[in-house]
Symmetry: C2
């Protein structure tokens, strides 16, 4: 194989690695990561255990790949939100990252669901929790910046606002389905409106 | 034993039934209900499996008791919110049920956490999901009533407002700890302020 050529893909007819990962994450979310064995995954896919090991080295490798998928997407959204080079206010960037996070949650729902359920029961999980905590801290910093600008209320602590705001966003994974009555654009807009303006009728209305 | 006297409590020195339930729920939340066996619970409590069966009939009995604890508390809050006999507006009753739900989540956090993770993998779970769905529908009805009063915005569907509002409240179980820097009164008040008025600085400020 010459340099620059992509490495040969591991996989078998019928299942590529991405499909195995996707089905594994669905299974983890359905019956819990700790309760799921490689044997369960093999049964789910109609493969033998040794055929599964042709695709993946371990259950933890699948967990790690899924957590990275979720964390990489969220990190790129937070990186963009903390980039001041566009000259946008912290308030505008906060609104953007809320809407962008909603879209990421919808697009990567299985991986994000898994991330949100991680307890820190292994090194992979502890590392993921550490990355997640760092994102939370950076978002709290952005809320503080918007409060310092005078755009966001300062009678509630920025850390608490940030927790509640992204708790609201995260809660979507539990019920939102894009094939349901609410499309993702309506969802993202509604969340931004409710979070920033509240559910009261505006004073002018 | 004469009629009217309480039945003798099942239990052994060191553990009463309530303690067994509390420790079981902690264990279910930590490692997942499906991944936890009665043997795991026995080890956790330092008892033999037969000693555990002295306290409880099955793992599912523990799950059922915990789900009932959470659902009974939430049902009483929703019953009160839908009671119009006090003459309070739907808007005022909605604010009350939000704050009351926050307190219930903090007070019954382990049981509510378990409830929020139920997937419907057994009859007990399906019954709990049914009760939970009924509560969601009644709360959506209250939001619709507040919107009809003109107190709550009508440019976002009442069902969506209700989902997001109680998604926000439910997300607390993932991070809030009463021994942390935010006391429960501040938490309940902050959530009501943010949900109803939004995180923007009020126009007068």
């Amino acid at each position: 194989m010459s340099a620059g050529q992509p490495p040969a893909r591991r996989g078998r007819p019928g299942y590529d690695q991405e499909t195995v990962l996707r089905r594994a994450v669905e299974l983890f979310n359905r019956q819990g990561y700790d309760a799921t064995s490689i044997g369960d995954l093999a049964r789910e896919l109609g493969l033998s255990k040794s055929a599964i090991y042709h695709h993946v080295d371990s259950k933890e490798q699948l967990l790690s790949a899924a957590l990275d998928e979720a964390l990489d997407a969220l990190t790129s959204a937070v990186d963009a939100a903390l980039d001041r080079s566009s000259g946008a206010t912290a308030d505008a960037r906060l609104q953007q990252v809320v809407q962008r996070s909603v879209r990421i949650l919808v697009e990567h729902r299985p991986a994000v669901t898994l991330l949100l359920r991680v307890h820190g029961n292994s090194e992979v999980e502890v590392a993921a929790l550490r990355r997640r905590r760092r994102l939370d801290e950076r978002l709290a910093g952005l809320v503080a910046e918007a409060a310092a600008e005078g755009a966001v209320r300062s009678d509630v602590a920025p850390e608490l606002i940030s927790r509640l705001l992204f708790g609201l966003v995260n809660s979507l994974v539990e019920w939102y389905r894009p094939e349901g009555p609410v499309d993702v654009d309506t969802l993202a807009r509604s969340i931004a409106v409710l979070a920033f303006d509240g559910l009261r009728v505006p004073p002018s209305g």
